[in-house]
Amino acid sequence: MTVPLSMPRLGETVTEGTILKWLKREGETVEKDENIVEISTAKIETEIPSPVSGTVTKILVQEEETVEVGVELALIDEAGAPPQETPADTGITPEVPAEKAPAQPSAAKEVPAAAGFASPVVRALAAEHDIDLAQVQGTGADDRITRKDVEKHLASRKPAAAPVTAPTEPAPAPEAAPAVKTPAPAAEVTPMEAAGLPGERVVTMSRLRREIAQHMVRSRKTAAHVTAIIEIDMGNVHTQRERIKETFKRREGFPITYLAFVAKATVDALSNFPTLNARIIDERRMALHDYVNLGIAVAVKDGLIVPVIKGAENMSLTGLAREIYELADKARAGKLSIDEVTGSTFTITNPGSFGSIIQTPIINQPNVAILSLEAIEKRAIVIDDAIAIRHMVYMPLSYDHRIVDGAVAAQFLGRLKYNLETWDFTPDLASFLE
């Protein structure tokens, strides 16, 4: 979480201080108690130690500026602290052991505050015996997994419950293929229970499902969702992709998808509209980023996961295509690490691969916007007062109206449209031209 460094009161009668020299720059790391800035007051000059270990994300007051006691001088992103909001992305795979912090483990409550709460002994047993708690049926209050549930599971579990190593089919990129089954070790199907109402079959929701559900509701409650939609002519991209796609697949071993092109265009657009790549810290502050960590939503068995391409602004088209392919593969194999599912600043979802033409996606917290790549279809459109048949796509952008206004959103989409409709990707793709 972000911790502010404030101007301290260095004497009872001191009311303000002046920054003499920053000992750390933005982006530099600092240890707790390490000197971070030199300040001067009416009484003394001194160095101020950092209150936490972490990275200086923002210097708010410059050298030689004078501010009152209590004014925030800089923001430090605390290292090793849990994410600001409870689970930042929905990206927890079924395979990750249950060591993520529960929402509010309050000992005073009758029942566990959040579904998915694992008590200390349950966590300890799960870790010790390498048990995936998503596979354990909970019989405690609110379906809580109790110690006895884990012990029962342990007793009935097959001895060879090693983590997945079975190779998956080299799955095509999200847009082309339907969801591939996650090969869990003892892929149990939750038995259908008889339910009270005739004709109903009760299914217990998996942990992933429950987390997605919570995240979606929470996101809707947090952000002021608006969806702007633009229509883009993908002919330019289509032509360039067609030219190289066979060679690319043959040489790289995986396909280059429309998503890769969209990702590249998006990263550029974000650099021009940084508020779409931001994070809202609290009522008074938002954080802008110098980087783009691009979340790519991937459909998996019983849900979805958002692996994150870190530093997408530095990647070439080929690099993005590869990252997308590899992360999607890992996602479907259930092999994403915590690092790979956290830290996104913007997310792209791709329901078009399943045929959707327009959706109004829910923002992936703590982002402030999400772009949806829908199905690319040939449509009749008007160009220069004549009817033409073009590869068209609707690209909805859901954004958080707390910090993004309609005009900005529309301009962002306009930029995206411009990029995709006019860019020459030859520099990126030259090596695949034969």
Partner: protein
């Protein structure tokens, strides 16, 4: 079986009398001071017959002056005697607070001089005796470094722990529960025996839930455990016996086994012994927990005189069952 063959059961209060008698016989340095302990034989008749047997220099009657005679006892202990002070009701011990806490508890720390003294008295409620004849003062003294504090729950432990206390070279506070005086009895060993101060005892084994308790509440816990068994819950009852020093190992072993813990104590809730045990479990047994640690205790109020109020005040079997149900359902 004829009465002649049936082994004689000793009540809790008889066990205390026996311990005192046997120690007075065994060691001539042991003597007693207290109000009405001579001719009258003690307010509860613990020392009936003692004056005749041991004489007025070993069974010394005191006026209502706890601070004074506790101070006297400390002085005697410093001279090598082993005094056993009786406070008529444990509540009155607060009159001697300064002598206990500032003198007796700290003497060895300051001067290396031992204070081998026992202060004993009847504590606890349930007898409609009102706010200052019914308290459980063990919490106050468990908080003072330099003292040992014992609260036995059974006749066996009452005798063994009192003997151990008298033989201990430290100042020991021994709170016998007046409610148990004639209500619990059991067959005691014939031979001389002592119980280990600082060792808890598992009074009933179980596997689903642990109740950590002491004093009269041991019996409440056992009754609740029996009823819970009918409901399919196997309750383990750990009797602390000594509330300071606390037997962490026994407590933590039990929680490791059951993963669920209830503290049951008759004392008022805030900062009672149960609060300390809960903290120990939370800190040192965290990984074993499968549910919150629950305290069942008296509320933070003086002990009521009115019978229905006192029954509300003192934790009952139903209160314990409610806690067991709550934890079992968690």
């Amino acid at each position: 079986m004829s009465t002649a063959n049936k082994p004689k059961e000793t009540s809790y209060i008889e066990a205390i009398s026996q311990a005192l008698w046997e120690e007075l016989e065994r060691d001539e340095n042991v003597f007693m001071l207290g109000e009405d302990i001579g001719d009258y034989g003690g307010a509860f008749k613990v020392t009936e017959g003692f004056l005749d047997k041991f004489g007025p220099e070993r069974i010394i009657e005191m006026p209502i002056a706890e601070q004074g005679f506790i101070g006297m006892a400390i002085g005697a202990a410093l001279m090598g005697m082993r005094p056993v002070v009786e406070v008529q009701y444990a509540d009155f011990i607060s009159c001697g607070w300064d002598q206990i806490v500032n003198v007796a508890a700290k003497m060895h720390y300051r001067t290396r001089d031992a204070v081998p003294m026992v202060i004993r008295g009847p504590s606890g409620g349930g007898l409609r005796a009102g706010p200052f004849h019914s308290q459980s003062p063990e919490g106050w003294f468990a908080h003072v470094p330099g003292l040992k504090v014992i609260v036995p729950g059974t006749a066996h432990d009452a005798k063994g722990l009192l003997k151990a206390a008298i033989r201990d070279d430290n100042p020991v506070l021994y709170f016998e529960h007046k409610y148990l005086y004639r209500r619990v009895k059991e067959v005691l060993p014939e031979e001389d025996y002592v119980c280990h101060i600082g060792a808890a005892k598992v009074q009933r084994e179980g596997s689903d839930l642990t109740i950590v308790t002491y004093g009269a509440m041991v019996h409440t816990a056992l009754q609740a455990a029996e009823k819970a068994r009918a409901g399919g819950v196997s309750v383990e009852v750990v009797d602390l016996r000594t509330v300071f020093p606390i037997d962490k190992a026994t407590i933590l072993n039990s929680v490791a086994k059951t993963s669920k813990a209830v503290m049951l104590y008759e004392d008022t809730r805030t900062l009672g012994i149960g609060a300390e045990v809960a903290a120990i479990i939370a800190e040192e047994g965290f990984e074993h927990l499968d549910g919150p640690i629950i305290r069942v205790s008296a509320p933070d109020a003086p002990v009521p005189f009115s019978p229905p109020l006192e029954d509300y005040f003192i934790p009952q079997v139903d209160d314990v069952l409610a806690a067991i149900d709550r934890l079992s359902a968690y």
